[in-house]
């Protein structure tokens, strides 16, 4: 099995706020991420596809196909958007790194038919990221 990773970057704004919490609770749990006017990040997304190289092409997945999928599913949805208001898949969820990564996994997995989605890693900043795997196929198990 060979792993192939494609990286893209997008920029988006968000705010952490749970309407079921009191203002004080929101402030305590989310800190400055609760700022009513929101804030933003330059996100870096790494998408890893696993598979055997096709004997005819030498490719696990055609990169141009993968780029189109990432453009369609991630860039068009999230780049230069407000994650709280403009991404229906995140409606009702706090747009944390964990939740955004999970939404991206759910968007990409059915679209990747050549090879299989192995990992989604989303960096919210260079020092904070979330990884998604299919359960039982985590990095430690692979």
């Amino acid at each position: 099995m060979v792993l192939l990773t494609r990286k893209i970057e997008f920029s988006a704004s968000h705010r952490y706020h749970n309407p079921a919490f009191s203002p004080e609770e929101n402030q305590r749990v989310f800190g400055k991420c609760n700022n009513p006017h929101g804030h933003g990040h330059n996100y870096t997304l790494e998408v890893t596809v696993a598979g055997e190289p096709d004997p005819a092409t030498g490719m696990v997945v055609d990169l141009s196909d993968l780029k189109k999928i990432l453009e369609q599913e991630v860039m068009r949805r999230m780049d230069h958007r407000h994650l709280n208001f403009e991404v229906p898949e995140l409606a009702g969820q706090i747009p944390t790194c964990e939740n955004v990564a999970r939404v991206i996994w759910n968007l990409l997995e059915p679209k990747i038919t050549q090879g299989r989605l192995h990992r989604v890693r989303l960096y919210e900043s260079p020092d904070l990221f979330a990884d998604c795997y299919r359960n039982g196929a985590g990095r430690n198990a692979s």
């Binding site: 009702g92 969820q93 706090i94 747009p95 944390t96 964990e98 890693r121 998604c132 039982g136 430690n140």
Partner: protein, 156 residues
């Protein structure tokens, strides 16, 4: 507020990077001075040397629907600060960290020691500790091996 995850079979991990600077010297009490010099080379320099270490901690768990979080970063940061960064930053690992009075403070052993400390984090499950000794050398420990020899160098 509810999670709209339709595929409950996804595992999500939260990764966080921290930095500290510390001195160390690679010198094994089980080896002669000549052997130490031969095996560790300039890392055996009696006066020690130091690195800017980067520590990457990965934890897993359920995403709390109310917060969207596996673990609150303030809790994880506070725990790492108390258990790892405060005791290690701007210290001599050999002289000031109990484990390294006897063990050689290679970055393999440092991964294992940090794993031992971070494993006690109560809010999520520790999956992995990855330490960059320099930008060219990194080491990982997942704690799931039969022996501690699993800490695998990715290059030296």
């Amino acid at each position: 507020m509810s999670s709209t995850d339709v595929a409950g079979n996804i595992k999500v991990e939260l990764g966080r990077r921290y930095r500290f600077a510390a001195a160390h010297r690679l010198h094994s009490l089980q080896l002669s001075d000549e052997e130490n010099a031969r095996i560790y080379g300039k890392c055996n320099n009696p006066c020690g040397h130091g690195h800017n270490y980067v520590v990457e901690i990965s934890v897993s768990g359920e995403i709390d629907p109310a917060t969207g979080m596996i673990a609150n970063l303030a809790d994880l940061d506070g725990f790492a600060q108390r258990e790892v960064l405060d005791p290690f930053d701007h210290r001599s690992l050999n002289e000031e960290v109990e484990a390294f009075r006897t063990e050689v403070p290679t970055t393999e052993n440092l991964c294992i020691e940090i794993f031992r400390r971070m494993r006690a984090f109560p809010k999520a499950k520790l999956e992995r500790v990855r330490v960059e000794e320099t930008s060219n050398n990194s080491f990982e420990y997942t704690g799931d091996a039969a022996s501690d020899s699993e800490a695998a160098p990715q290059g030296r």
